[in-house]
């Protein structure tokens, strides 16, 4: 069937099952928006900044497991998308970004709103392409969706010159696609699987270290099964939270820079690390040459380039976590493998771990002050551990990781790889669009929330109910924490308020330092059509959360927490995992 390129694009998206697109229009995408206007099947959500649209597509993708789609115009529209694309790239999130481009005849001429979008996004996309001929369009859209999802997922960008959107194409959507340069391996090699099963059975001090790959591959059931049948201690990366439920008896919590003392100790003292869908990121390993000195490593990952990149691997298995774990579990249930297990050593191993657990539990000072950890615990309790939590970046992110009780995969959405401040609010909006039955809460910092605060409008205007819980310390808190601990308490460029002497006389002594607070987040929320609640005391926490949960509207709660609270425990950068700082208070 003949139709215009722009119309064909929309038909392609429908064939891919796209139900929502996030974005902002502009000159180079006008034909697409013209057809979107008439389309009944695809919901369009107008963000207030392209970065917001990108994170919304990302939040939608992470919450649902589907591909998120965003669209922007050429030049500034496309460059505004880049932070969101890079965020998705680092965390292997499948999104398809569609950008308009100036007319093919003008490409390279410094035309109005021209930017070399494919050049700019080359290192932050899994694949990108500038469409140069109308007849390539449909194939490239098919390819984009295939590549976004296949193997290790990631963002794909299609740059479409405006004249191609206007030209006639023959719409025939291919059912199948074969990209000769991209052939991911989904099944693990049986020999390697056997070797791994044997090593697991024989190990005396094993530990399972898993990451976001388990969630992406949908392998959480197989992982839980592995843990159940082997009774091996298991620790998660930031990206893996939820794949193992918080109260699993074998779960040691998160590892790494702000992980639990006992999970890090267990890693350091292990004789076998079973790494599943994780990539030995520097925030996880600490100082590399001191990482797990006695351990052999099994590494299961779909991306061969992740294997032996940072840590040498003894038994590599390239494949989809779900398939590989299914096969390993089958073997481990067999008598001949069970008989290999050194039961006494395993018992002793658990005894040591339990001792560390008792000695260094994850705790905080639960006094009368308004502490962020308490707030996260109350949010967890009052949502019965059922909410989808997104985060900003910094201390808020770590407290959200440490103190919310996650039960499910795709429940905790955070920018782990890139650490993008401003991720939480738009990703919460995207998540809510994809999972409308869920309560969605962005646990935020007062610095980060201002990086995409304009998206409060998007929630209101599209009737998307989300909750933002700002752990407001008036600082760029995580940076302040580093300055406190490693730079002699020189607080350089981290105080987010006016200086007291410039502000002058304090008119509301009860809020002391923070009178004249900039901005007043409650007022901001209200002016965007949200409800705003300020909480300055511990005894107000529950009622505020309950109110936010029961309200029809989106609600921002501005929690004025202790200004100089720190995230503990902590492995200082460049130290070994077992050199952790704990709360001295």
């Amino acid at each position: 069937m003949k139709m215009k390129g722009a119309k064909a694009l929309i038909e392609c998206l429908k064939k891919e099952g796209v139900e929502v697109i996030f974005g902002i229009p502009g000159g180079a995408v006008l034909p697409i928006f013209d057809y979107l206007y008439d389309d009944k099947d695809i919901r369009f959500i107008l963000s207030r900044h392209e970065q917001g649209a990108g994170h919304m597509a990302d939040g939608y993708a992470r919450a649902t497991g589907k591909v998120g789609v965003c669209i922007a115009t050429s030049g500034p529209g496309a460059t505004n998308l880049t932070t969101a694309i890079a965020t998705a790239f680092m965390d292997s999130v499948p999104i398809v970004a569609i950008t308009g481009q100036v007319m093919t005849t003008l490409v390279g001429n410094d035309a109005f709103q021209e930017a070399d979008t494919t050049g700019i996004t080359r290192p932050i996309t899994k694949y990108n392409v500038l469409i140069t001929k109308p007849e390539e369009l449909i194939y490239e859209v098919k390819k984009a969706f295939y590549l976004a999802k296949a193997g290790r997922p990631g963002p794909v960008l299609i740059d479409i010159p405006v004249d191609i959107q206007r030209s006639e194409v023959d719409f025939k959507y291919p059912d199948k696609i074969d990209v000769r340069g991209y052939k991911p391996k989904y099944e693990g090699h049986p020999k390697q699987i056997q070797k791994a099963a044997e090593a697991i059975s024989r190990s005396k001090r094993p530990i399972i270290y898993y990451g976001g790959g388990v969630i992406i591959s949908g392998a959480y059931k197989e992982l839980r099964e592995l843990v159940r049948i082997t009774e091996i201690p298991v620790t998660s990366t930031l990206m893996g939270l939820g794949a193992i439920e918080y109260d699993n008896p074998y779960y040691l919590g998160m590892l790494g820079m702000h992980g639990t003392v006992y999970s890090n100790r267990a890693i350091q003292n292990s004789d076998l690390i079973i790494a599943i869908g994780a990539r030995f990121d520097d925030r996880v390993t600490g100082r590399l040459d001191k990482f797990a000195p006695h351990a052999k490593v099994i590494h299961i990952d779909i991306d061969p380039s992740s294997i032996s990149k940072n840590v040498p691997v003894d038994i590599p298995i390239v494949g989809d976590c779900k398939n590989v774990l299914r096969e390993i579990n089958k073997l481990l249930k067999k008598k001949e493998y069970i008989s290999l297990i050194p039961k006494k050593d395993r018992k002793e191993w658990w005894r040591r771990i339990n001792e560390w657990k008792k000695e260094f539990p994850l705790k905080y000072k639960n006094d009368n002050k308004l502490r962020p950890q308490y707030i996260v615990e109350r949010i967890s309790e009052l949502t019965k551990g059922e909410a989808i939590i997104t985060t900003e970046v910094g201390q808020n992110q770590m407290w959200a990781a440490q103190f919310y009780k996650y039960k499910y995969p795709r429940q905790f959405l955070t920018s782990g790889g890139l650490g993008t401040m401003g991720y939480g609010l738009p990703s919460a909006i995207g998540a809510k669009v994809g999972r409308p039955e869920k309560v969605v809460i962005d646990i935020a910092g007062d610095g980060s929330i201002q990086m995409n605060i304009q998206e409060l409008a998007t929630a209101t205007c599209n009737k998307i109910k989300v909750i933002v819980a700002v752990l407001n310390n008036s600082f760029l808190g995580m940076v302040r924490q580093w300055q406190e601990l490693f730079f002699g308490k020189k607080y350089s460029a981290v105080w987010l308020q006016q200086r007291k002497k410039e502000y002058g006389e304090c008119k509301k002594p009860e809020v002391d330092k923070r009178c004249g607070i900039v901005p007043d987040l409650v007022k901001i929320a209200e002016s965007y059509g949200w409800e705003g609640i300020r909480v300055t005391r511990k005894d107000e926490v529950d009622s505020a959360i309950k109110k936010a949960l029961s309200s029809k509207n989106s609600v921002l709660i501005d929690f004025w927490i202790e200004e100089e609270e720190n995230v503990f425990p902590m492995v200082p950068a460049g130290r070994a995992l077992d050199e952790m700082l704990c709360d001295l208070g």
């Binding site: 694949y127 500038l130 390819k143 990209v179 340069g181 380039s305």
Partner: protein
């Protein structure tokens, strides 16, 4: 141990692909000695021959990262294999009455060619592997090399002998 590797990369013959490959090398901090691109017997496939230095771990990453790009169809490392490699070099060398005949003698021995003659210089063309080219350069340096250009190495695996 750092070693020189010649790798052959079959890629989609499309605009932007060269930039993707070159960008990958710079972004990941891999050093390229030379890079040559050209068409193959299949019109929509190009071959890049890349000479890169690194230890086994670096090379493993280079190969894995290249393989990750959807535009890359196949990667093969020639190290440890039987293969032929050639580079073409053009050298403009100073030549006056007294040195000209000596230079011509060298050119003959190397089975190189003189492709341009001027009053005070010659352009010499030669193909060969790295070793041969280095040997020629060393000998010509004495006369004064004014300018040099190389195509970069291209390589091909040898056919089965039996």
């Amino acid at each position: 141990m750092t070693q020189r590797h010649t790798i052959s990369v079959l890629v989609e013959n499309r605009p932007g692909v060269l930039a993707k490959i070159a960008g990958l090398f710079s972004a990941r901090g891999f050093n390229i000695d030379s890079l040559a691109v050209g068409e193959t017997e299949v019109s929509d496939v190009s071959r890049m021959t890349i000479v890169v230095r690194g230890d086994d771990r670096v090379l493993e990453q280079v190969e894995k990262q290249l393989n990750k790009l959807p535009d890359v169809i196949k990667v093969s490392d020639f190290v440890g294999k039987e293969y032929v490699e050639r580079d073409l070099v053009l050298i403009r060398v100073d030549a006056n009455k007294s040195t000209r005949s000596e230079i011509i003698e060298i050119v003959d021995i190397f089975r190189a060619k003189i492709v341009d003659v001027a009053r005070d210089s010659l352009i010499i063309e030669m193909t060969g592997d790295e070793e041969k080219i280095q040997a020629l350069i060393k000998l010509l340096k004495v006369y004064g090399i004014r300018e040099m250009v190389r195509t970069g190495i291209v390589a091909m695996a040898r056919g089965k002998k039996d």
